[in-house]
Amino acid sequence: MGTTLAEKVWEAHVVRRADGEPDLLYIDLHLVHEVTSPQAFDALRDAGRPVRRPDLTLATEDHNVPTVDVDKPIADPVSAAQVEALRLNCAEFGVPIYSLGSIDQGIVHVVGPQLGLTQPGMTVVCGDSHTSTHGAFGALAFGIGTSEVEHVLATQTLPLKPFKTMAITVDGPLPAGVTAKDLILAVIARIGTGGGQGYVLEYRGEGVRNLSMEGRMTLCNMSIEAGARAGMVAPDDITFDYVEGRTHAPHGAEWDAAVAYWRTLRTDDDATFDAEVVIKASELSPFVTWGTNPGQGVPLSAVVPSPDDAADEVERVSIERALEYMGLTPGTPMRDVAIDTVFLGSCTNGRIEDLRVAADILRGQQVAENVRMLVVPGSARVRLQAESEGLDRVFLGAGAEWRGAGCSMCLGMNPDKLTPGERSASTSNRNFEGRQGPGGRTHLVSPQVAAATAVLGHLGSPSDLPTNVS
């Protein structure tokens, strides 16, 4: 019987297998950032252990870093200490690092693919749950805890228990105006925030094959929000075209050998998944969240749900609690929800393609009065690329703020936060209570909806905008 893509990548990395024990898996790429690594390095130092493969490890500063005044010392002492610790640890253990101010600094999940380090068939880990992003290349990529970070630093392996596989098949092409973000929000609303627990998801079908690499990364990025370990898309010519020519991509004869191998990385026709979900692309439309977890989403054209819609008591209480936190009334059209802040960025939607589509919508428009819009590129290179295309001038001209690269308001570990009660339309991945700042209210949206919302002052899509008057 055939095997799935995820199983193929797993099998290709088994270092040791013994009855009754977890498989010992080799890790091809270990990405490191300032928040989840300090204790891991400290413990290594304690035990007198080196980093086994600094050449398969890469650090970048992203979670804590400011997005303004990036040439000045970091004001927050906790953030400053974490960033400083990372720099010292990398210097001591010989780990390459892209620090604030480096052209290759940025969000770890934007930097890896951008450098060509993320390639099909690899195992990729990072002390960050959104490591699932790298699955867009047909890599097996997942987040780990600090003890596991230490384990990978010391051994370049991890003992892992097997996972189950789930196919998410998107039948037909995505309708015009529907993005990868809308698709993944619809998937999570369908299977729930725990629906993927214990599974590696493989996104398949026409609606996925037609997506760009940026779109596939958005899709895989939020697999964790469905509770999955990882998400994957089988590599194809779109993948190879994206990787080719990047700094760390193979070249010459090695490129040919790599592509020949990568073409074998697909689920066999006779393979079976442990679970399957089919999404009809034609039924999708722009999707937004109304509640306090990524599964609490509805089409933009829908209304705020009511606790009476709940299937059971647990869900009823959950809806009530979310509505109270979000300050929303059941039955309100989502398009009537007024927004204070728009955040465009994050490892979900902070890549160049995301900035381009948002700029296209904002060109000749103005951000509504009383709305602030933060545009935070996913990496320093994305920022430079955008500036070379004049996108910064579009954003600034529309009244948005143009910032430096980092995780920023996605999780509010740096000064970019919502104030209590402030409501955002955010292209990030989590609408948890207080995620973007204590008391902040988050609506997850696509870059298209974010840009249109900024102009309208309430949730909306580009089709709601009056024709450009420029």
Binding site: P38, Q39, L56, L117, E150, T157, W255
Partner: protein, 196 residues
């Protein structure tokens, strides 16, 4: 990780049940960047109370904690184990431990000796009557001994083996060093490195 075969030291009686990991170390300490130095956060809320057992001179230097049932419930933070170790505890004796805490302890090398509640009560009386009482926790024979008392304790056989050998998770993986090296030699030439 240092091997744990047997340990003898004075003990502190913690006459409380359901001590959760937030009580062992509060969340504010989770922002730290070091793996050590968490002793000042141990039982933070109680450390201002002069009556609290660890604030009594009699129990200074105790290296065995004899705690009430359901020790270590709540949040999975590994810092709870680190704080106990940083303070100087080598072993915790209780009649019931929370699962995650017990797992974390085994990984970090803190012995959690599971005894019946009667043994805990006897130990408390002995230690309180004479704080210089030496308590021996012997992993080889799986017994707790103090004065005339000798009582068996329970420990997961796999954890026991690891502690006796002084092997942490990484130590165990490194026993497969030759497998790792063999695998590395077979990796394709096109696999990227992060060096430039």
């Amino acid at each position: 990780m240092d091997a744990f075969v047997t340990h003898t030291g004075t003990a502190a009686p913690l006459r409380r049940s359901n001590v959760d990991t937030d009580q062992i170390i509060p969340a504010e300490y989770l922002k730290r960047i070091t793996r050590h130095g968490f002793e000042d956060g141990l039982f933070k809320a109680w450390r201002n109370d002069p009556e609290f057992v660890l604030n009594q001179a009699d129990y200074a230097g105790a290296s065995v904690l004899v705690a009430g049932p359901d020790f270590g419930t709540g949040s999975s933070r590994e810092h709870a184990v680190w704080a106990l170790q940083d303070y100087g505890f080598m072993a915790v004796i209780s009649s019931r431990f929370a699962d995650i805490f017990r797992g974390n302890s085994g990984k970090a090398g803190l012995l959690t000796a599971l005894v019946d509640q009667e043994t805990v009560e006897q130990l408390w009386l002995m230690i309180e009557a004479d704080p210089t009482t030496l308590v021996t926790v012997d992993l080889e024979s799986q017994t707790v001994a103090a004065g005339d008392l000798v009582a068996p304790f329970d420990v997961d056989p796999y954890v026991r083996w690891r502690l006796l050998q002084g092997l942490d998770d990484i130590g165990i993986t490194l026993q497969s060093e030759s497998d790792i090296s063999t695998f590395e030699a077979s990796r394709p030439a096109f696999a990227p490195t992060t060096l430039t």
